[in-house]
Every structure is written in structure tokens, then in C-alpha cells.
């Protein structure tokens, strides 16, 4: 276990103390998860999407550090009122990181994971409906690949250490 200084900025601290749009959404149109408790880093997004494919509301749950909570919270605010297409195209991990006022570099992956979870949710919305919009790439985006990689790493590590890995 290595340690690095983590001088979180005031915005991250504020979102950690007062997260917006927190909690499970009972009437969510779609939900998606990225990460794994074994990584110490896991996010669930709940999206309520209307017939015009606009995100009416979004909420989250986060098993993770202050940066994980802050980036998840900010994503739910950034995507509210956006079409799924705009959310897909405009929300990148870099923008999320900027929006929380920057993160220590070792915590960049938290923003990446948050966007990975968002993209999974959007993909799931369409795959649930057997739709393939032309703007939605078949190939996984950077953030989705990173989420997969983080999940795989945790599994591999658990296997290598011969401990009972988490599901």
C-alpha cells in the first residue's frame, strides 16, 4: 500500500459533504454500474429518460473515496436535461475533472470510472430496446475500456493473491 498526499480542492470537499442527486431511483429508466467493491471504487447511475431521449433526472450511489463521490455527483448534474446523444458526446472524464475543479492525478481514474458508468447506462438504454443509433460507436470508448480494465485488474489480483475475490 502506497500513500500519496491528497489535497482535495474545496469543490470536491463540498460535493463529498453535500452530494447532489444521491440515492437509488425507483422509477429509473436505466441503471448501470462500473467498478467493483474489490477495487474500492464502484459507481451506480440511475437515469430517468423521456420519450425524446432527454435525461430528465439522474442519481447515483458510490462506493468509493471523496473523489469518486464528487465526480459521480457532478456527472448527475452535468447530464440533467441533455439528450442521450449530447451526454454521450459531451461528457468526458477530462470535462468531469475540470468541473470538480481538478483532482490529484492519482484520482483521475475516479472521473474516468464515473464517465464509464454513464456510457454503460446510455449503451444499456439502447441495447435494452434493440436500437442502434448511428452516432453510438460499437467500439468501447476510453472510459468504458478503463472501467473494464479496472474490474479485470481487481479480479486478477484477487486470483494472484489466492484470496477469495469479491464477486
Amino acid at each position: 500500500m502506497s500513500r500519496v498526499p491528497l489535497p482535495y480542492n474545496p469543490k470536491v470537499l463540498d460535493l463529498f459533504r453535500n452530494p447532489k442527486n444521491l440515492g437509488k431511483m425507483e422509477d429509473a429508466t436505466v441503471e448501470a454500474v462500473a467498478g467493483n467493491p474489490a477495487c474500492g471504487d464502484m459507481i451506480t447511475f440511475y437515469l430517468k429518460i423521456n420519450e425524446q431521449e432527454i435525461i430528465e433526472k439522474a442519481s447515483f450511489e458510490s462506493y468509493g473515496c471523496a473523489a469518486n463521490i464528487a465526480t459521480s455527483s457532478i456527472v448527475t448534474e452535468m447530464i440533467k436535461g441533455l439528450s442521450l446523444k449530447s451526454a454521450w458526446e459531451d461528457i468526458t472524464w477530462k470535462k468531469v475533472t475540470e468541473e470538480v475543479g481538478g483532482l490529484p492525478s492519482i484520482k483521475f481514474h475516479c472521473g474516468v470510472l464515473a464517465v464509464g458508468a454513464l456510457k454503460r447506462a446510455i449503451r444499456k438504454y439502447y441495447s435494452d430496446r434493440n436500437l442502434e443509433p448511428s452516432w453510438l460507436p460499437k467500439e468501447l470508448t476510453f472510459e468504458e475500456k478503463q472501467a473494464v480494465e479496472e474490474e479485470e485488474l481487481a479480479k486478477m489480483l484477487a486470483k494472484r493473491l489466492k484470496v477469495e475475490g469479491d464477486k
Partner: protein
Amino acid sequence: MVENVKELLKAHEGITHEVYLDNENSSMVPQEVLDAMTPYYNQRAYGNPTLTHKPGWEAFETIMESAQKISRFMGAKILEEITFTPGETEANNLALMGAAFAMKSKGKKIVISEIEPINVLHVVELLQKFGFATTKIPVDTQGFIDLAKLEEAIDKETILVSVSAANNEIGTVQPVKEVVDIVKAKNSSTLFHTDASDAYGRMPLNVQDLKVDMATVSSYKILGPRGIGALYVREGISLDRILEGQIGTQKLWPGIENTPLIVGFTKASELAFQNFEANVNRMRTLRDKLVDGIFNELSDVKLNGPKGDKRVPDNANISFLRCEGEALTIELSLKGIYVSSGSACSRRLLQPSHVLVAIGRRFSEAHGSILMKTTRYHTEEDITYVLEVLPNAVKRIRGIVGSTGVD
């Protein structure tokens, strides 16, 4: 980035009660210790102990008397068996590297437990580059070393074994005497080192009774100043130096001795060993109140490490399920309670505390772990305050986690 920290500190304004429990990672230094040290910066013994003038001779006298006291507290035979180093890390580096290089003609095998401190793990990793091979002996679910596997691992080529007397994270007290007997019965020339930093001042410790060849102790772990520790090396054992420079009063560690820190370390030791029983009982009573209180208030919590007299009296290490540790440390800090976590929420460093993994904790349990250590300076009120705040802090973080952390 320092601007951010100023803001973080501002967020702590208005805290009315502070309880520092992160004594694993650093500690406050009592005023009595500071008062003992101060004169040695500018009033006496500020000279170099190898030089022929009064401040030098004063320093020599002070260092020798300090070494004498530390040697008595550790149960060593003579003061020359004590080498002051800048801390536990350096003492462990000296013990392991110094012994490995001195013994390299006899073999290249080193044996440690899986739950040795990070510095020991890193030193043996470094030694691999010089052709030394390390076997790590597993521990059980409470952190006790597997004695059968240990015995199996020792052979003619084994030059060095290092097993901590008490684990720094989960407080497990190892049966050091038994471990030494097993090692020496298989190979009488194998050197045995123990990092006793977490045992010193907390439980009876006598290097001669334990028959260890080397033992590390650390000042800050007994509320002395940081930057000083000591390595006991039994008379007759010769280690290689691992640093070169001007040799002063200590042949194993070059550079000018830091007299004020040595005085502070010695004073902290005296305070720990004066009223030893009472000090230990106080740490234990407060620790037990803390742990029992947490278990009464919260469900889904697990104690990491053993219960009872096989656990050092100050250590409380608890996993809060469905709760991420780093988030909890920040939440508690904002309420004036300072603790550390075995979590590791950082890219590519997914592995949480190796100690918790070694005792079979799931990763998610390790990520939700909090380490706290009580001292004789804590009060009943401190623990009562922690028990008022901590359950609510855990509940708030669990509220953010929701169903996401359920596995």
C-alpha cells in the same frame, strides 16, 4: 495544491473536540518529552560527541547514557548493542541489508512473514536484485505465523529470518521465542531479527529472553519525536554498514549523532516504562471501550486481528462493511477525529493493506477498514466523543454507498 489544503483546513474550523488516533503513522509528542529535548539544542551537549571539547564530551556522555537506558528497557546486555538510527525504516534496512550482505557467503535465503511492515517487504524486494531469495510465511486469520511452514522453510542456506514481535496494523503478538527456537533448531547460524516497534512499551519485551539477534524499536511509536529509532544487535554479531560517511560513536551508522532526538526518544521510553502496568491498562481500557462501543452501535463490523492478551493493548482495527475507508477518514476528520484506513483507492494500486489481505479479508473489507491506536494520554471523554461521532459518520458514508457496495 497547498491552496487546496488551506481550504481543507478551513473546513475544520469550529471543531470543539479533537481526538488523534492515527498513532500508527505519526504521533503527538508530549510536552515533557519536548522539555527534555530543548536544552540539547542550545544549552548543553550540542557538540559533536567525537570531538575534544566540553559540548562534545557532554554529547558523548548523553548519548552513552541514553543508549544504556534504551538497552535496559529492551533487556540488552550492554549499551554497545544499541545503534541509534533515524527511525524504524532505517533500523529495519540496516538489520536486513546489513545482515544479508554480512552473511552472503553462507547462503542467500531470507524468510519473513507475509505481514511484515512495508519497509521490510521493500528491503527484501531490493535484496532480490543482489541474488537473495525471500520466502514469505503465511499467517492465519488472526495474523499468527504458520509455525509448521516456517520450520519447513528454514534450511542450511537460510541466513536471515525477520518476524515482527507485534503487527503494526492488526496488533497480533507473535510467539517470538517459539519462532526463534524453531529457526535456530533448524539452522543455528541463521540470524533472527524482529521489528519490535509495536511491542516496545506495550508488552514485556526482553531481547535476551527472546534470544533474538536483532530488534528494532522506534521513537514515535512510543510518543517520542519522529526521526529516531534504534536497532539492537547482539554482541558478537557483525553486520555490514549500509551507509558510508563519518563514523562517530556508532560503528553501524555514520553521521553526527542527533543528540536532542536521542534524548527525546529516551525520555519517551522512560515515560512509557514508568508505571508500565498502569500505562498499558489505560491503553487497553480505552481501546476496549472504543471497540465495544463500535460493536454495540453498528452492525456489519469486523475486528481485524486477535482478541485478548495476544493483541497489543493499543490497537483497534475494524472493517466497516459497505463503507469506503478513505471517505470515512475524511468524514471523521471534519469532526475532529483522526484515523487512517487500509483502503487503496488509487489507479493501478488496487491492492489494499497486504496485512488484511494476508489474514483472508475480502478486498471490500480491507477497503472499509480503519486503524486506531489509543495512548495513555487519551481520556474517557475522548472515546465517548468518538463513539458519539463515528457511528453517524459510518451511517452517512453507507448512505452514499447504498446498494452499490453490497456484494
